[in-house]
């Protein structure tokens, strides 16, 4: 299987503290992967590195068919290369409507001049309707997104990710603060997305991870502790010691 993203030997130090320690990670083009690990394991920092927010001290991050290095690219360039990210805290543009949020995310030219003269066409409107239906916000399209419930904001953010049409989706704790039925909807959204692209989900909740039904990477103190099916890693003694046995 070809790889879409390859992270190898990456380390990051914050004020002498090694948050990521010689981490290596790979994912294929249409794969779902869950990353679990105790608080402070470096899960969010891992996403920061891939999306260009944090530059690692050493290591390589190689992307796509042409094997380009992401380390020299800005956040915006990485996003345009096809990596979308959902933050741990839902971050949508609260003062704007759901429609404006989705339109902004829609895959189009991103330069100021082109955006200045951009005019949403019928296909854009259609795509927005489609996305809204998928994330269950059809009725809310004209609402100011700050008025949405916590769960709806999470979905809107996932919808914005899908609108970007990325090849890799990084999703940080999507189910946090959701009701069980909201979680179910979120699971199906992610599973659906993973059919055509790579999806990496960071999650604490084991039940949620189980329902994703995918390969699991366990992170601990900035490096990979175990990798494999959920049942396989949960039987690993090291994993039990640091994470499950708390």
């Amino acid at each position: 299987m070809s790889t879409l993203l390859e992270v190898s030997g990456v380390s990051v130090t914050f004020d002498g503290f090694r948050a990521i320690n010689n981490l290596s990670f790979q994912i294929g083009p249409a794969e779902m992967r869950a990353i679990i690990g105790p608080n402070g394991a470096g899960k969010t920092t891992f996403m920061d590195i891939v999306t260009g927010k944090t530059k690692p001290d050493e290591g390589r991050v190689i992307w796509g068919d042409e094997n380009v290095s992401l380390l020299k690219m800005s956040e915006a360039q990485i996003a345009r290369a096809g990596i979308g990210r959902k933050f741990q805290k839902p971050t949508v543009f609260e003062e704007q409507t759901v429609r404006a949020n989705l339109l902004m995310a829609l895959k189009h030219e991103r330069s100021p001049l082109q955006v200045l003269f951009f005019k949403a066409g019928p296909t854009d409107a259609e795509r927005v309707e489609e996305l809204a239906a998928e994330i269950g916000l059809t009725e809310q399209l004209e609402r100011i997104s700050g008025e949405l419930s916590h769960g709806q904001k999470q979905w809107l953010e996932i919808g914005m990710l899908l609108a970007q049409d990325p090849r890799l989706l990084l999703v940080d704790e999507p189910a946090a603060g959701m009701t069980p039925s909201e979680r179910e909807h979120t699971t199906s959204l992610l599973v659906q997305a993973a059919k055509t692209r790579a999806v990496v989900v960071v999650e604490h909740d084991m039940e949620f991870v189980r329902r994703l039904n995918c390969k699991v990477t366990v992170l601990h103190e900035g490096s990979v502790l175990a990798e494999g099916g959920l049942d396989h890693v949960t039987q690993n003694q090291k994993v039990i010691d640091v994470y499950l046995g708390r």
Binding site: S74, A76, A79, E95
Partner: protein, 397 residues
Amino acid sequence: MQQGFLSKNPSVPVFLGILAAFTLLITLTAEGTGTGAVSATFVKVLGRTLCLALIAVAMDLVWGYTGILSLGHFAFFGLGGYMIGMWLMYQRTRDIVVASLADTPIPATETEINDAIGNQIFGVVGSSEFPAIWVFADSLPIQLALVVLVPGVLALVFGWLAFRARVTGVYLSILTQAMTLALALYLFQNESGLRGNNGLSGLQNIPGLEAVPPATVTMWFFWASALALGLGYLLAAWIVSGKFGSVIRGIRDNEARVRFLGYSVEAYKLTVFTLTACIAGVAGALYYPQAGIVNPAEIAPIASIYLAVWVAIGGRGRLYGAVIGAVVVSMLSTWFTGGRAPDINLGFYTIKWVDWWQVALGLSFVLVTLFAPKGIGGLVDIFTDRRKAGVAGEAGK
């Protein structure tokens, strides 16, 4: 421009209508064109106020919509004034010199004329040489282009350095203050080539228009200022109404999120910063001929802070709020500091407005920031909300 742009932004036709009605009213009552109830001096005050409203619109674009609290935009306003002032002063002095040398038996050579102009303009700073930056001063089209280009290029260079280094928030504000302070200090020097603290003066005399009554020229500038404000408002409203407006408001509210959507935040900031600097330059070029003089004190750091205060009091993030703030505060300012506001005698102490106006202004800024973050413009919401509620109530019957 999008079809239905005006219908989707009802505040734009309302604003333009009010501006047109106001312009008409002044035209009908002014000394130059109407009954004469409004003096030419006061028309100049109104014309200048329209220019201040225009730079406030620019400030709202950069601060209210994009979230960049620039405390240096008055530098661009002043530069616009200097650029047009160079042509006005050069050409006017030349006309006078040529006229006075016309009677001499031997016709003056071009060098003699130039020396005489140089003496006239730069005598106050102990020089008669034309500094290199005056090379285009004899060309109105070039100086008009410089009105936009000089502020634009300065903003582009400054913005590129600052935004690329990801300077944001209060650090950026301080940096913009430093920029305008440095520029003011530079211009204060006699060697700056722009007459040091004397600045450029006599700008109210427009070369070639000596035959036109001054009150009429005053009206022309008033109309030009109203037109510039109308066009500037329309441009700003169009910019903020589309996807570009979505992106810059996104930058204001959460810059990191916009980056991860693939937008180059720096490029957007730079675009808005530079564009608003150009608008400020145009506003300044219209303002200073109506003031008669531009000097380095105009671009002291405090001027840019006032600009932010106007926009805050008027209500940022809504273009008409910026206009309301600039008009109300600058007019009140003129009145209170003009010495015509009656003093308040408290028996033990007399409040002299000339001294206390600044304090009152500072206090109202604090109060607005704390208790009415939407500013005066927020009052419009009360009205429109009530109307909406009224319509809903009707429908419920």
